[in-house]
Structures are given as structure tokens and as C-alpha cells.
Amino acid sequence: MKSPRVLPGFPLALGYTLVYLALIVLIPLSAVFLKSATLSGEQFWTIISAPRVVSSYRISFGISLLAAAINTVFGLIFAWVLVRYRFPGRRIVDALVDLPFALPTAVAGIALTALYAGNGWLGQWLQLLGIKVAFTPLGILVALTFIGLPFVVRTVQPVLEDLDIELEEAAASLGADRWQTFLQVILPVLSPALLTGFALAFARAVGEYGSVIFIAGNVPLVSEITPLLIITKLEQYDYVGATAIAVVMLVFSFTLLFLINGLQIWTHRRHGRITG
């Protein structure tokens, strides 16, 4: 027996969703895998394990990991200060946290470069200390930290806001000092959100292009990121080479996406809320 749905529009809405998703996302993405399938296993391996490519993985993944870790620590402090302390301009600070989301990456890239270049506002002082940021891997770290910042703050902040004050009062009444309360009561509640924020920042950093290329210097084997390598190959009309590297990145980001999703579902089941 046909079971009519009460609310209308299901076939239309779902049909449109699926067709649009297939046309814009799924079919084009499958092009990458189909194209790379024209390569033999050996050819594929040769491309993706060339020294210059492997060094770009090391730079992209390694620095992204570091940037995400920095963001996890500072993002937590940032979220804490925003939720727990009153200070003038708090609302403006809160709004500006999302700047890296809203600011076009190219603008962020040239701004950071100007800031950290040898004659820049920060660069000139750092140079006196013997630290070079712009046009070195350190510059990549600065750019990736910038673009990843909102992820951790914005995943941790709502959880912290919803945290029941009574939990902490209970801990205090049981004799825990503030640090013990933080480590044993607050942090465990926050940790799924922290982990999600970390993973989101990491995923974003690995694929980032615009804000990095201006400040990186783009020296092969030293400060060349994987997305740039794809562009370089494309500009040399080496579509196959570009595609093979893209496959590696896609497989990585899809794995991460499913992990993040799994993490959120798990958190939701366990705590009855989504931290994302």
C-alpha cells in the first residue's frame, strides 16, 4: 500500500537535491578518479612519490598539523576568555573571530606577507631577533594558523556556553581546586569539540592555497605546498600529474571528513548534542 507523506514536496526536494549534488559535486569529483585511472599503478606511484611531491606533503601536512595544534590551544583560551570574562569590546572581538572565514584568502595572504616581510610592522622587529617569517616555512605556519583560528573557537564556544555551572560548583563543593575542576570536569566535556575543531582546522589548512602562496616563497623542497604543486603541473599542461596528486589529497580529505562526521555523530549520541 502506498503511504502518502503528510508534508508535500518530498520527491521534488529530494530529486532536485540529488540531481544538483550529482551535477555539481559528485560527477565532477569522479572525473579526478577516472582520469587517474588511465595511469598504471606504477606510473601513479612514480608521480605521487617523486621527491618534490613527497616534500610538499611533508610541508602541507606537517605544517597544517602544527597550525591546527596551535589553534587548539589558543582557540580554547580564546573561547574561554570570550565566554567567561567581561571586558570592553568583547562583542567586537567575538565578531572578528570569524574574520578568517570572511576575508578573501588572497587578501589575507598579501596582508600577512606585508606584515611579516623584512620591512613590515612585525617583520622588522622579528628580523632584529634573527627570525625570518615571510618566504620561509614559518610564513606558511602563520598563514595556516590564521585561517584555522575560527574553527576551534567556534566549535568550543557553544559547548562552553552551555556548560552547566552546577557541574563546576559540584566539583568545588567536593573539594576540587580550579585546575582539577578544569582537567577532570570541564576538559572531558570539551574534548569532543576540541577534537572536531582541530580536525576541521587541519582539513582546511591542508587544502589552503590563497593565503599561503604569497607568504610561502614557494621554494621547491623547502616551502612548496601540495596545492601549489597541482597548479604548477596544470600550468605545464601536465593534467595527469596534477590529477594523481589531487587523488592523494582527496582520499586524505574524504577520510578526514568521515572521521569528523563520525566524531560528531558519536558525540551527539553520547551527549545528546552536536558540537559543530
Binding site: M1, S3, P4, R5, V6
Partner: protein
Amino acid sequence: MSIRVQNIVKRFGAFVALDNVTLDFPSGELVGLLGPSGCGKTTLLRIIAGLEAPDSGQVFLDNHDASTADARERQVGFVFQHYALFRHMTVFDNVAFGLRVKPRRQRPGADEIRRRVQELLSLVQLDCLADRYPAQLSGGQRQRIALARALAVEPRVLLLDEPFGALDAKVRKELRRWLRQLHNALHITSIFVTHDQEEALEVSDRVVLMNRGRVEQMGAPDQVYEHPATPFVYGFLGAVNLFHGRINGYQLQVGEENLPLAENGFQSGTEALGFVRPHELDIDTDLASRAGIEARVERVLALGAMARIELTGAMGETTCHYEVELPRERAAVLKLSAGQIVRLKPARIRLFASDSQSAEQVPYLPVEHMVGGYGENI
């Protein structure tokens, strides 16, 4: 308008929400669908409204098969458990909604809509709140607005899902009386779902008791209370004492002791369950008597005209809990005290074969209902 549901079956995955339910709701009556949560009562209501489609079976409205009709075409007024008021609209706009979305040809003019809405708002005694938003209303007020909104489209049937479930006890009582009066004035066929037996018995013309997707009994409130058809109904409506035993002629043998039976439709040797209401039990302090069952007084509560006595008895290995209700004077004569051993003598025992399917779940019900249920309110 009369409603008839016939052989309705509804499954959610492996869970059977409605198991071949057939029911007649006579025209103009207010019927209470009563049962524990998960018994399928809300699902049945939603199927009648067309908000849910049954896996099989039919719904007849006024003897016309409405099974395939759209929820919009059924002209059913539905009051949702949490009211589902449109939170971005004022009270007035909420009530007017059903009139305003009618096709242009059937839509009343703006003045007519205003008049009708005002009329309904005064019917629910909230005319002064027309410009408020739902968030600014109390729970009871929301409830009444939801009802006014449902009535605005002049439904042929009114369906209410746990209409008082979300309200506190005092408001609930007031609204209950008010709904009864409203129904007396409008005489629109109405069904409401509740898990509160007191509510169902007090408000409805007729009560339908449901359990595990099946109808256990349908009848007038006093009829189902006085003559429960199944052990489930017995246990669900009011407090009850259970005696597990074996039929022995005109006696129910419970452990070592025997309870006399006035009537007996069972063969000797049958395992049976005896049901006795707390007010049908008497207490005998004379331990020499062999009649009744031995029990120990745990607590005596004298509240109002009645005294409630809680007792325990040993049934082999297990401890049984009993509850007795006596007139206060009688309790005073007995001079009961905690720890005292007494004998319990039932005035009337209702018997059910203990292998009957629904009997198995009954033993879990009584104690819960002794505490917060019908008993304390009568």
C-alpha cells in the same frame, strides 16, 4: 460526525504501534483514548487526522472511506501536544491562519475573518490577548489558543493529543472542566489522547483503553472502572492488590491460605490471579481466625475521610505489597500500628487466568498507581 477505524495496522520498523485496531466513535461524543506511553494512542489519533498513513486498514468519517484523503481534505481539527503554535505570528494571526489559507473562492472577507477570530477568542476567553505572540503566553493560554485555531476552520471532528499533558496540575484541572463545558456547548465529535486515567474518566463520555497497540476495553467511565474487562484495565485504572494462586473449588488458594470466592468460572487446579481494590479489603486483627491472608502493617496514613494502610506479606520467597483503604473510623477502631500482624479479608475478588497474555504485565502496574493515581483523588 461519526468516526470509524477498521483493522488499522501500523508498524515502525519492528515495533507494532497498532495491531489490527477497530473502533467506532459515535457522533457528538467526547472520547478519551487512554493507555500507557507507547500503546499506540497518539499514532491512532494521527492516522485519523491523516498525519500518518496506516500500513493497512481504513478510516471512515461519516461512513465515507477517508483512508486516501489528504489531511487537508478531512476537515479535522487537531490540537498538538506542544500546541505547534506559529511562533512568528500573533495569537490573532494564528487563529486566522486556517481561514486565510483557504482557496480564494471559499475564503471569507477580512471583516468576516476578524469577526470569526474575535468570536473564537472570546469563546476561549482570551480576547484581550489577540496581539500577543505565543512566547508571551502561559501554557494554559497557549493550549486554549491552539484549540481556538483548530476550531476556526469549523472542523467536523476535533482531535486532541495529550491536551493537558504539558500543563501543571492546577491549570490542568481547570482546563479539563473547561473542555468538558466547551464540548457540551459545541457537541463536536472529539477524541483526546491521554495517559492520565483520572483525566480520561473525568472528562470523557466514553473511554477507550489501549495497550501494546490493541484495544483492551471501550465503555463509559464508570463501566470500565467497575467492570474491567482485562487484567490490564484492572491494573491501569486505580490501585489494585494482586493475589497469585490456584483455584480450589470456591476458593483461591494463595500459598498456604485460602480465600473464599463468591463466583467461579474456572476449573479447580487452574493458576489464577485475584484482583482486589484497596477499598474491597478489610483488616482483621483477630489472628485466631483462619480467614484471609496474613500480612504485616508497614505504615498507616490517615488523610481525610479515608485511612490508607500499607502492608507486606510473605508469599513463599517473595514479599508482596498490599494496600488497604478503610473509613477513618474503622481504622481508629482497629488501632493499627506498624509491625503488627493482621489478616486481610477481601470482600470481592475478580479472577483472571494467570496464563492470559496481558496478565503477565499487570504485577508491575499496581504499586505505581497506588501512589499517584486515581485512589487519592476519589
